[in-house]
Symmetry: C2
Subunit: 243 residues, 2 copies
Amino acid sequence: MTGRLNPNISVDCVVFGFDRDCLRVLLVEREIVFHGDTEKTVRDYKLPGSLVYNEELLKDAARRVLHDLTGIGGICLERYDVLDSLERMDNRVDRQWLEQTTGLSIERVVSVAFFGLVNLNDPLVSKVKDGARWMNLDETKQLPFDHSAIIERALAVLQQRLRVDATAFGLLPEKFTIAGLQQVFEVIGGEKLDSRNFRKKLKNFHFIVPLREKQRNVAHKPARLYSFDHKRFLQSRKSISFF
Amino acid sequence: MTGRLNPNISVDCVVFGFDRDCLRVLLVEREIVFHGDTEKTVRDYKLPGSLVYNEELLKDAARRVLHDLTGIGGICLERYDVLDSLERMDNRVDRQWLEQTTGLSIERVVSVAFFGLVNLNDPLVSKVKDGARWMNLDETKQLPFDHSAIIERALAVLQQRLRVDATAFGLLPEKFTIAGLQQVFEVIGGEKLDSRNFRKKLKNFHFIVPLREKQRNVAHKPARLYSFDHKRFLQSRKSISFF
């Protein structure tokens, strides 16, 4: 091993915010100062992330970094990937920023990625620190490092979950409409769904329970309300298990 | 960051070997020399693993380490965990061994864990290098570092997969008996299954297709043979998807 460096290790957090009709991602501003003939400052946005301390667990590092940089705490972060590409960073800008913020000359960083999902209608998460920003997913295509790719992979994991687990119901009130449920699938899934097919499919899912209640105080014809039965949901998933 | 060390990063490989009626794990011998009043050598077994080089991907590091230490190559390794406990290593023995093999004084190692599954009836994998050994799962309860825990977690992931994906069929010949399938579930699942309930459950799985053939050259009453229809299997999994 002697003479062959071992990579550094960092955490990056992809926090998705569900905002009724769009999906956002929490980013933080970074500032890089270039000292040349004339001093030049570049500002852009990146995912909240930083190097891991020697004495902390990865999930604690993720929570610390997210809280320090954005002010957000107490949300569920799940480890979903390890980013180890050899071309993760831009040689000029990213390396300069790392040196500026860590005081170290860093050759390579392997990053452990965490993701979370929050409802932006919850006032506890919608308000963030100065320098942090909820950015529309469409605006995250050209971020520094491999952060655009990290977000894409986190989104793919989230979408896969949404297809088969109870993620969608966590974003809905206890009593919801089928149109509301469909909207969650459309916003996170990133595509319009055919309402008739969607309703037909849901009919087979006995864990979506029709209530005797309808919406109130709505301008249009009030729609039926439904609730989610988690116990029945788990049973339905068990039916495809071999033992 | 200055002054606060960043952890080292390694890979560890848990390769399970399915051996008809038991499950084995591939381990390698390590030797630690203690220089005191009298020189003392300690030998034990651990998972194949090592520090990652700065210029290689994690999966390449896992393949390199597995091949170098055991002689086994060309098997599918999947990343399934990152081990970051602060008490992963024994201060005396493990640290001494790390220093001896790397020439570095190492404070902490975060390890990325990979797992694989092979059929030990395949002659390409049953034969390993000197120093490597296929050990019965029961004999891996007191390994160095957190390797016993790494194996337990890998086994839990494997067992979870086995419940819902096509892992079991990869260990069977193209034409198999229900008893043979049950044995795979029992060996990896780690518990006896009730044959009647098992057969009853399988009746709902149209991807397990009865053939017009029976076993030949067996001492007992020949049993019916079955095949696995992967396309139907995927369709059955899709039925629980929301969209």
